[in-house]
Amino acid sequence: MTDFSPLLLAELAILAVLLSALSALATRHLPALMRQLVIPLMGFSGLLALLAGVWTLGTGQNSTAILPIGLPWLPWQLHLDALAGLFLSLVGGITFIVSFYAPAYVREFEHGNDSLPALGGFTGLFIAGMQMVILSDGAFVFMVSWELMSLSSYFLVTFQHEKAANRRAGFLYLLMAHIGGLSILLGYALLAAYGHGLSFEAMRAASLPEGWATLAFLLALFGFGMKAGLLPVHVWLPEAHPVAPSHISALMSGVMLKVAVYGLIRFTWDLLGDVHWQWGVTLLIVGSLSAIMGVLYAMMQQNMKRLLAYSSVENIGIIFIGLGLSAIFSGTGHPALAVIGLVAALYHALNHAMFKSLMFLAAGAVLHSTREHDLDQMGGLLRRMPWTGLFFLLGCISIAALPPFNGFVSEWLTFQTSLQAWALDSGILRTLLPIAAAVLALTGAIAAATFVKLYGIAFLGRARSRRARRAREVSLGMRSALAMLAIVCLLLGILPTLVIDTLNSIPQQLLGKGLEQATAHGWLWLTPVSAETASYSAPLVFIGALLTWWLAQFLLRRGSVRKVRYGDPCDCGFGTPNARMQYTSVAFAQPMRRVFADLFRLREEVTRDEQGRERHQLQVEDPLWDWLYLPLARAVNALSKLVSRLQSGNVRIYLGWSLATLVVLLWLIS
């Protein structure tokens, strides 16, 4: 540890965030310390991590270190390469931005019963865990940090544990996180068994027989997929993410899911190597299902943060579509096309981190200002919170994958990858890929509908409740965090070539090939395959759009009639409408609900009370609960009943079981 390397910077980042966690212990007596020390330290750590990550990405240099802690035969190996660099800068960047937002947000907790030391401490541990997962260079460090990340985020989910729903969400999260963790552990065990060592170095050298490799891949997919929120193991996500404090939701949805994606990429592409196209098909199918189902469930939500959580499932699905395409192309011997898929997936991971954090922070701002989760109690917020409203709108445009913002670029790249299907030899794959692209198109279109609904119901129209009428713009710190994220979203959208140039060292590391042709025509032109196949010049298109807008404004605002007269709305001559006559979020989603009725579990009833007033009740639930989870839970219950027969209450019998176990184990190892 002599010279100054990115890894040293990253270690300092971990140290800083651990210090932040430690200093949070003092906030019990000094609540103001939270804002003055704990969160700035966290932000500082984020900045260091961001710098370390960008530095690594820029130079493409790898650095390794061994931490002088732990047991002598289990070294804590750390490693920072381009792939880790991207995700580290992602964690760091979002942490940094959140640190502007958090002080104002946690202020309300200073006077309540909620424990500030717990919030600050576990946030610090959570971030440290994520940074260490990314930096780890061995299965041991990886798993320890992974569990640190899972456990500390559990405590953040149950931060407001007075509410039963939060406790339930926390339990579900803990349960699934552990099953997932177990699955990842088994995957590493397979690699370690063939590589004779826990370090990633040894695992890379291991050559697994085909069957075992596929098993290891499936275990990793299950484990990381559970953390990432893939269908059908996504159910914890929409429960857990919304109940955490909003800046934590942003970290969980924006960053933690990406850490899971990182884990899968590291495990499959780096450690396992030799990706099969069948794995790609699996990823593609799982990803497409997650994308379409995630966005359909998001469309049905009424709770702002739940809607955003489901939309995370959708976006993770899109990332996995990209990864699946990449695996299919590399498994069938088209490395150049595999690179585009991988870059598309990484780009979308980056984009999703930005716009989802933006959305969660903005939702937090709304929550902070109105104390409402329910969309149907909001309305008209744009006029009361213009800045938040503007940034929220930019977030909506990004997340709905509309040009010229960032979500569009990564989806465009994914489309381009799947349209290269003609290069494949198998006719079946040639049809499968465009169908996946069509699913992606449907997803994008429904996402647009979902965010029209979210924005239209919450920010436009008239206020639907007293609280919404009294909403006030949030503080400068919160707004500045939103502004930063919104600007990043725009920049990622209009300067894709610069981003791809920066990302280029990752495919070079994983696939041995870069994406030079994408930016071969200068920074103005993005040409993933070649200039004849497809080109997109985001900067020029953006300038063109701005010019047209300006021209239209300029031409029309001149002359005698530039004035605008305000008056009552026309509304087809029905007289002045009131707030209750507006479309609600339930009403907005009704056509969609009816068209896709088979995919939901709908409970709709109309009851009539004594005065003859009708009451309409609607419940939309995830059918997977019925199809998968409840049978599973019943099976587990039945099994434990069976096991509980062993429980006779007699100590000597228990001792007998212990003896038997001991004997069997001795026999096994002899």
Binding site: I397, V452, L460, P569
Partner: protein, 321 residues
């Protein structure tokens, strides 16, 4: 790329965009006129949409007092997004610098951006009709977009490019081929175009009957120049789809070089194709009655199925090894 950064070409491209915007009301008027003739009416003059636009531009704009700033910004966003989308469609010549700015997926993206703001503007005033229109429009577009992309993917799979100029060049180069995939894609695109431009049987541009409106419900609160921009954008969108369909499937006559004579021929060719397409649209609008909203998914499913069959027949029949 660099060789396309030629100022004369760019000037021509800008002129083409201008022509696109100026010719858009004419197509709408043409369809209206043919339709009137078919219904034994005389119908308005072909210049009527221009007169309407001029009148609206001169009128004072009235805005509901419950509207937010978004309401006033939306017409400009909708108009410029639609115009940007239109600028990437080759109108007279196959190759223009604007066509490489953005491919067909970006085109769909900009149309989606316009629709996004249109729907938001509909919800802004807080009237029941606006919300209804927005909700329906988003449903229709959500189902139409995959169908449209599926049809386009079929074309791009055989042309190996998503660039519209390359696709058209590919069709021109391969001469007259009876491709089942193109046939299906054409049918799918026709169905989608009808749905996306809000024509009968999906929506009725002439209606102000409350419960059947989709597009009209969203722009109900607009007046003056705002309304003019919205209407103009809708006309540009209609022309865009018309040009897209006729130039991809019948590209003959388009100018291959940027010289006066080929360009003139191109103008004549596209005018002829659009007149024909307009007649087809008018006839179908006269023959078909408007659908109930919940029949629309079946209609768009059919479009998607056609797109899918196009893709399948491309893979199985045309390239199957």
């Amino acid at each position: 790329m660099a060789d396309l950064l030629n100022p004369v070409d760019w000037l021509l491209a800008l002129l083409q965009v201008l022509l696109f915007a100026l010719a858009a009301p004419l197509l709408a008027a043409w369809v209206k006129r043919i339709k009137s003739r078919l219904q034994n009416r005389r119908g308005p003059s072909l210049l009527q949409p221009y007169r309407d636009l001029r009148k609206l531009f001169r009128k004072e704009a009235r805005v509901a007092n419950s509207a937010s700033p978004l309401f006033r910004a939306a017409p400009y966003v909708v108009f410029s997004a639609t115009l940007i989308a239109a600028s990437t469609v080759p109108l007279l010549a196959v190759h223009l610098p604007t066509a490489i700015l953005a491919d067909v997926i970006v085109l769909v993206g900009f149309l989606a951006l316009a629709r996004f703001f249109l729907a938001l503007a509909g919800m802004d005033v807080g009237s029941a009709f606006g919300g209804m229109g927005a909700s329906r429009e988003m449903l229709i577009s959500a189902l139409a977009e995959p169908a449209m992309l599926m049809a386009i993917f079929t074309l791009t799979m055989s042309a190996h490019s998503t660039n519209l100029s390359s696709v058209i060049q590919h069709v021109l180069d391969s001469g007259l081929l009876l491709r089942p995939s193109f046939l299906f894609a054409l049918l799918a695109l026709l169905l989608v175009a009808v749905a996306e431009t809000g024509r009968i049987p999906i929506d009725n541009p002439a209606t102000h009957l409350e419960l059947t409106m989709v597009h009209e419900a969203m722009i109900l609160e607009y007046s003056g120049r705002h309304l003019a921009l919205m209407e103009w954008a809708a006309q540009i969108k209609l022309l865009l789809y018309g040009v897209l369909i006729s130039n991809i499937f019948l590209p003959w006559g388009m100018a291959q070089q940027l010289e006066p004579l080929p360009l003139l021929i191109g103008l004549a060719a596209i005018a002829g194709k659009l007149m024909l397409l307009g007649v087809v649209l008018a006839v179908s609008e006269t023959l078909v009655a408007k659908m109930r909203l919940f029949r629309v998914p079946a209609y768009l499913n059919l479009a998607f199925l056609l797109g899918l069959l196009g893709m399948l027949s491309h893979v199985i029949l045309e390239v199957g090894v």
